[in-house]
Symmetry: C2
Subunit: 161 residues, 2 copies
DNA sequence: GTAGTTGCAAACGATTTGCATTTAT
DNA sequence: ATAAATGCAAATCGTTTGCAACTAC
């Protein structure tokens, strides 16, 4: 299953005349087998042991390439950074506003919803639509518990840095 | 109408015990009256003439605050940057992949769609959902025309960086 | 063979931060 | 009165870039 996805992605690259280098294969495989929505730095830390020559610059270049090719998507990271996700089967993301955790949501209605918003967007704007992203923000289980423990009362005041 | 929105937003701030400074009012008013989805730098250029002491740092701080308060939303800007948008009435965005233009889409189905995705996300992830974002990517009118002019044939090859 | 890719280090630029001063409440 | 916000400049950090060496096709 992971291999299927890898082959399919590699074929997509071949079709677009993009060279398949060991680095690209390694990064692609990592993304397919890890759905932890890694930031660039995380990918680097994980893969450096396997390919000591691998550079950050190459990871940046490769990810940008994959995004253009449509096989990887970017997820905004409240803190300005970007996280990446292999886009095998369509899904959207729930993002924790407190800890930044990203959870995949596989919604049976997603294709329907995606078509609705793309159709409406095209109608209103005249854009030629190619893709869409949905993110839902909130508090994950752990952070709900953590924050509840910190202020057991219903205090409203909130630190704004 | 613009004033209503401003008053409503100011009350939101008051309710949360956030001080209303001239800078905050100025920035808020700018966002309410300009739906050009400005980047920080743009806001700075526009407002500096009106308040020469206004600093970039204050704009950054203020916008982050507004986002936390839920009266302004961030729009990811392919080039890593962030653009801001006053969130008066619910809408989502069509973003041009070529020139970065952002167009508001006011979809009558948006509330329905938002509820669907928030409900499903909560069910699958256990998150306590607070908000959601939808972005649709594609090519705007002008860029469609521009690109069609550049390669009148159906050439496939594409520069990647 | 050759255009495309890598890796390094340097450059870049957007955003954040520390701190003294000012200000809203 | 005082806790919070501003503005400045410096620091930070993620990302991009120029270029020589390397490699997939």
């Amino acid at each position: 299953m992971a291999d299927e996805a890898l082959d399919k992605a590699l074929n997509t690259l071949r079709d677009k005349h993009v060279r398949i280098t060991p680095q690209r294969k390694l990064i692609l495989n990592y993304l397919i087998t890890h759905h932890n929505h890694p930031a660039v730095e995380v990918i680097y830390q994980e893969l450096a042991p396997q390919m000591s020559s691998l550079s950050l610059a190459t990871i940046y270049n490769t990810l940008n390439l994959f995004v253009e090719m449509g096989i990887v998507i970017e997820i905004p990271n409240e803190n300005g950074g970007i996280r990446y996700d292999f886009f095998g089967s369509p899904h959207y993301h729930a993002i924790c506003e407190n800890c930044g955790k990203v959870t995949d949501i596989f919604d049976p209605n997603f294709p329907k919803i995606e078509e609705m918003i793309q159709t409406e967007a095209a109608r209103q704007s005249g854009y030629k639509i190619t893709s869409s992203h949905i993110e839902v923000y909130g508090l994950c289980d752990e952070c709900q518990a953590k924050l509840a423990a910190q202020k057991p009362d219903g205090a409203a005041a909130e630190a704004h840095v």
